[in-house]
Point group: C3
């Protein structure tokens, strides 16, 4: 029962499911603006590369959340993820690619009224004592329309 | 072999997969207008709360299907679900949250021509002798555009 | 340990996951235009029925890729898949239905500028020495808008 090779397949499938649910929380908590709960989907030192959208690279989940709140706190946002490709790269580490689409409606008076984008998230995950967390996130874009 | 703690992980994963396929049938059968087959995805006493769309709360799958058929029978509809968060709450019960997007094109002459919405389904599931069924469905909306 | 009935459930779940990742590669490699890598998601003799879009039926992955490259090589394309219903039909064969949405932006000067479609993929899969492959693909449409 304690031979690790016995437990590997079940653990693998459970880990992939846990990472799918982690990313589901990322999307839901962002679009429902539950910032405190959203903080828990990232490692403290998470690295964010959304330079494809013109943002600077950011290290640290707190700094990223402060940035994202300034950007979308008062917008209606819809972020959807699709078709994950998740690979375990070690007992406590994994990578994932997700197709994504986002649509944002900003309040009147700002520089943009509407953003509609398509692309992929390229992520790494780390298992912590509190479960799997997003350890890095890079966004590539197929197309972005701004009005 | 009969110790229930032995069987829990495999059962859990199979049940989550069964609930994913159940919700996939819900979407496909609605958009392809296969009403008789769609009836089988719900428990008889299923509770529907789509008050976010202005509909009354409805108890009973037959009453809901009669309502939905009146509303979309002659429309082209696309309903997509994303990023499930499914939790087993007992051996025969589960909850699920799904991100969703729907787009409907109505025939000429009606009160609406086009609806495009975004939100979340909050659902409960019950295992019946015929498999998992949707036992309650509540829709919350992030945004709905009507033309 | 070698009784095949013992191993069936784990194999089933792994196979379904492998087919999900196979289809994820299909979408990602098409939209990022990685044609050589995309070739490996199909069996050599794969049958393609996209007659719903006005294309002829095609036998053979090489012929399909030549056709699809002529059609979308210079377009920005987004293809998303949702809500799979995958069933194993034998130890080395499976079927799958996927909801889909595609949006294509063509270069100036062509017969179409923009296509936005919705429908379902109806597919079969075959396990080969190199893993699961798409063995046939049929597209049905709920709606297609062309501009």
């Amino acid at each position: 029962m304690t031979d690790p090779t016995d437990r590997r397949p079940a653990a693998t499938s459970d880990d992939v499911d846990a990472i799918r649910r982690l990313k589901a929380r990322y999307f839901r908590l962002m679009d429902t603006k539950q910032w405190d709960e959203m903080r828990s989907v990232f490692t403290d030192d998470c690295h964010f590369d959304t330079t494809a959208d013109g943002a600077p690279e950011i290290d640290g989940a707190d700094r990223f959340l402060a940035m994202i709140r300034r950007f979308i706190e008062h917008a209606v946002t819809v972020h959807h993820g699709h078709m994950p490709e998740i690979e375990l790269t070690g007992p406590d580490s994994a990578t994932g690619v997700w197709a994504m689409e986002d649509e944002l409606w900003f309040p009147d008076g700002g520089p943009i009224r509407h953003l509609h984008g398509f692309g992929h998230y390229h992520e790494t995950y780390r298992r912590t004592p509190d479960g799997w967390r997003i350890a890095s996130l890079r966004l590539t874009r197929l197309r972005v329309d701004r009005q």
